[in-house]
Structure formats: structure tokens, C-alpha cells
């Protein structure tokens, strides 16, 4: 039988990691965990150097002097390691955070906020009885769920039914959480199966 040594190592490593769940924390598990972190950190460092070299140093050496700005800001970030000069690193971080925030506010407002509201309004184009039913359920779920988060109104007078509506909203939230839980199971079972599949294949099944 022709066995790939990399598969054997992968299977042994997986079993060592699983031993944490199926048995208890042990020295082999810790060794595997630290190795994984070390390899990932090493790879990230080498990849970063490769990327900085390709996207910054090389163009700079070819005469594109604008690349000196990010290089300079990047070097200033290293001053964060030395307490008395740490303030120098703030300029680079300020630029990254500022650009990032501005970008996110502009783009995410469009994708995750305004686009969602407009698409929600689109559901009111009802053509069939099934669509009408869906819109009804959607509206009840949306309104009752939003009302859960109203804490400033006393349930008296016109607002007397509020607790009952909030209870209904909680029911919808539980449906959603149940769905997320089911999806979690699917993901975890698939991950575990990926490991076990290699194990089973190793023994020729």
C-alpha cells in the first residue's frame, strides 16, 4: 500500500488536536497547538516581507519616490515598541484608522444599510397569495423584534399590549437563533468529518 507520509502526519496531528475534546488537555495537544501558531506566525512574517518588497521596496528602487511615504509611516509604527517614542507610531495608525473609517462609513452605509432598506421595501410588490403571506409574516416578525428593544415606554394605556408583542418578538429571535445553531452544527460536523475522512482513507476504507 502506498501511503503519503504527509497524510499520516496530518492524521496524527488531527488526532492530537482532537485529544483535547475526546480526552483532556495534554502535552501532545499543547505541542501541536504551539507548533500551529508558530508556523502561522512564521508564514505571515515571510509573506509580509515578500509583499512589502514587491509592492513598496521594488517600486521605490525603480524610482517611484511616492512609495517612501508608506515605508516611512510603516517604520514609524515600529517605534510603538519603545515606550518613550511610541507616540511616533500614532501617525501611521491615525492614517490607517482615518482612511478605514471614512471608507467603511461611505461604503458600508451603501451596502449594509441603505441597500438593505430599499430591498426590504421592494417586498411590497405583491403579486401572489404566497407573497402576501410572506410579507405578512415578515412584517410581524420585523416589527415585534424591533419592539423588543424599546425600553423607554411604560406598558400602560395605548402601549399596554407591548409586553405581549415583545414576547412574540422573542419567539422570532429564538427561531433565528435556532437556525444559526443548526448551521453551526452543520459546519462543525463537516470540519470534524474532514479530519475523520483522512483517517478512514488512511486505513483503506
Amino acid at each position: 500500500m502506498n501511503i503519503d507520509p504527509l497524510v499520516v502526519i496530518g492524521v496524527i496531528w488531527s488526532l492530537v488536536i482532537l485529544s483535547f475534546l475526546l480526552y483532556k488537555e495534554n502535552i501532545a495537544y499543547r505541542f501541536a497547538e504551539y507548533t500551529m501558531i508558530g508556523v502561522a506566525a512564521g508564514h505571515a512574517t515571510v509573506s509580509a516581507i515578500y509583499l512589502i518588497n514587491g509592492s513598496n521596496i521594488t517600486p521605490l528602487l525603480r524610482g517611484n519616490l511616492l512609495h517612501i511615504v508608506p515605508l516611512f509611516l510603516g517604520i514609524m509604527l515600529l517605534f510603538k515598541l519603545k515606550g518613550e517614542y511610541a507616540w511616533l507610531g500614532r501617525y501611521g495608525i491615525a492614517l490607517v484608522v482615518g482612511v478605514g473609517t471614512g471608507d467603511v462609513v461611505r461604503s458600508q452605509m451603501a451596502a449594509s444599510f441603505i441597500r438593505q432598506i430599499t430591498s426590504t421595501l421592494e417586498i411590497f410588490t405583491i403579486r401572489t397569495a404566497e407573497q402576501a403571506f410572506n410579507v405578512f409574516v415578515f412584517m410581524v416578525a420585523m416589527l415585534s423584534t424591533i419592539l423588543i428593544f424599546i425600553f423607554t415606554v411604560r406598558p400602560v394605556g395605548a402601549a399596554a399590549p407591548l409586553p405581549k408583542v415583545q414576547k412574540l418578538g422573542r419567539l422570532f429571535v429564538m427561531f433565528v437563533l435556532g437556525t444559526i445553531f443548526a448551521h453551526q452544527i452543520m459546519s462543525r460536523v463537516a470540519m470534524l468529518a474532514g479530519v475523520l475522512q483522512r483517517l478512514v482513507a488512511l486505513f483503506g476504507f
Binding site: 475526546l22 509583499l51 458600508q108 451596502a111 430599499t118 448551521h183 453551526q184 452543520m186 463537516a190 474532514g194
Partner: protein
């Protein structure tokens, strides 16, 4: 006293490791003896498949971007392989990238290329497909890729400069691509490529991330394949056997087991509550 413990009390105090072992056994059994449970194709998956079939013409360029490592691969790999095979059948050109920092993502790209493109001599590296590997900067880099590809990538993952890659003659930015297939949790593809440049975005990711993506799917901004189940469905549509369909056996059994445990746990909880009420 321990002797008076009912079955419900025993179940309530069960060592969780017994449940983990049970799950392991439940997954291993169908791996050894497949059950062949039927898999039906859902509307969402058919939509994605039909879109690709209609939209992609020979020599169109598709971008496959990985935003994840090896962990979710049992879920996403079947869809990834099926999609690559579909794009190959449609004679599209394929570009691979990854924004995931861990070393695993490039390994996944290599695996996909090994199992599909490198097996077919009609597909030549650099001309019909290329692996640009890792980029850093998340959303900012994705935005830059849309406006100017060469500002992010000056060479491919193996160090070949762009000028020596024939496919690069046709790549300038988002406008050069017919579609993006993103495997991961990065919303920036929707923001910058779909809403910004009107490039269709298809997303595959773990089942647990489906709720995050559903609002974007409902808004018509993406095509969505969620988790192993929908990856298996895509495999059926593409018509090439892969790892997805057989996986549905252990998924079904695993779900049934967890469902049974949840029901038993709830019954025990209700019983305990009622008992407390009568005391």
C-alpha cells in the same frame, strides 16, 4: 443519593466527552458504509448555477478569491471544485487570489488547481489560469484591485512578473472580470465589486455564515452557496462526482443525533422544572 438517580438525572450529568465520541462514531460509520441518501437541489443553488451558465462566455475571466483557510474546506471545497470545473467547461479563464493571512489558503488554491486545471493540458498556466496568491489590506486592497489590479499585484505567487503572464494583457481592474467567486466572509467584494463596479458576486462559505449573507442575497446583491449541503447540490448540477454528495450521509446522521440530544435535554429540563414546581 446516587442510587435514586433517574435516567433523566443521569442524562443531565452525562460527561460531554461521551457525546463527542458518539458524534465521531456517527460520522465514521457512513464514511465506511455510505448510505446514499438522496440530495435535492434547492432554488438558491440552481439560480447560481444558471447564472454562471448564461453569463460566462469562452475567454471570459472569472476571479476566485479565498478568504478562508483549510478549516472550512470540507464544506466549501466541493463547491469550489465544481465551480472550477464548470468554468473550465465554459472555457473561461480563471484568476485565483486570497486575502487570508494564514498559509493554508494558498495550499487550498494549489489543491484546487491540482485537481482540476493542471489535469487538463488544454489549460496553460499564465494564459488560461493564474494564481496571484496572497494580498494584504482586506477591504482596502479589494477596492484597489477593482480600480487598478497592478497596484496590488505586480507578479504572481511564484514570482513571475505581470508582463510575462499573457492573461494580464486583459486584466486592468474589476471591469476585466465577468464574475467574482468569493469563498469567505469578506463583505468588501459586495461593496466594491458588485455595488461599486457591477461585477456579479457569488459567495460560498460555511453554513454558520449563511445568516450573515442572507440579507445581501435577499437584496439581490449576491448568489449564495451556503455550506456543505449547497456545495453538494452544486456538484450535482455540474454533473461531476466529488466529495460533497457522499458527505450528506454523515451530515444527516449528525443532525439527527444532535436533534435527538437537544430534544432529550429539553425534556429533562422541563421535567426538572415541573418537579420543582410541585415541591
Amino acid at each position: 443519593m446516587a442510587a435514586s438517580e433517574s435516567i433523566w438525572d443521569k442524562l443531565g450529568n452525562l460527561d460531554r466527552r461521551i457525546l463527542f465520541w458518539a458524534i465521531v462514531l456517527i460520522i465514521i460509520i457512513p464514511l465506511i458504509h455510505p448510505l446514499g441518501l438522496p440530495v435535492t437541489v434547492s432554488e438558491r443553488v440552481r439560480e447560481a448555477y444558471n447564472f454562471v451558465e448564461k453569463a460566462v462566455k469562452p475567454r471570459d475571466i472569472a476571479l476566485i478569491d479565498l478568504g478562508t483557510g483549510l478549516g472550512p474546506m470540507p464544506e466549501t471545497m466541493p463547491g469550489l471544485l465544481a465551480m472550477t470545473r464548470q468554468l473550465m467547461r465554459l472555457q473561461a479563464r480563471i484568476v485565483f487570489t486570497t486575502g487570508y493571512i494564514s498559509p493554508e489558503a494558498v495550499v487550498v488554491i494549489e489543491t484546487v488547481m491540482d485537481q482540476t486545471l493542471r489535469k487538463d493540458p488544454k489549460f496553460v498556466y499564465g494564459e488560461h489560469y493564474v494564481n496571484f496568491g496572497w494580498y494584504t489590506g482586506g477591504g482596502t486592497a479589494i477596492r484597489r484591485l477593482a480600480s487598478s489590479w497592478k497596484d496590488v499585484f505586480t507578479r504572481d505567487w511564484y514570482g513571475t512578473p505581470n508582463e510575462r503572464l499573457p492573461i494580464m494583457k486583459d486584466i486592468t481592474g474589476a471591469d476585466s472580470f465577468r464574475l467574482v467567486w468569493h469563498v469567505g466572509p469578506e463583505i468588501a467584494w459586495i461593496t466594491y465589486w458588485k455595488l461599486g463596479k457591477n461585477v456579479p458576486v457569488l459567495v460560498t462559505y460555511m453554513a454558520l455564515n449563511i445568516p450573515t449573507y442572507l440579507p445581501y442575497y435577499a437584496a439581490g446583491d449576491i448568489y449564495l452557496l451556503g455550506g456543505q449541503r449547497e456545495s453538494a447540490e452544486y456538484e450535482i448540477l455540474v454533473g461531476v462526482p466529488g466529495p460533497g454528495v457522499p458527505a450528506m450521509d454523515y451530515q444527516s446522521l449528525g443532525h439527527l443525533f444532535v436533534l435527538a440530544v437537544v430534544v432529550l435535554g429539553n425534556l429533562g429540563h422541563i421535567r426538572r422544572k415541573l418537579k420543582r414546581g410541585t415541591q
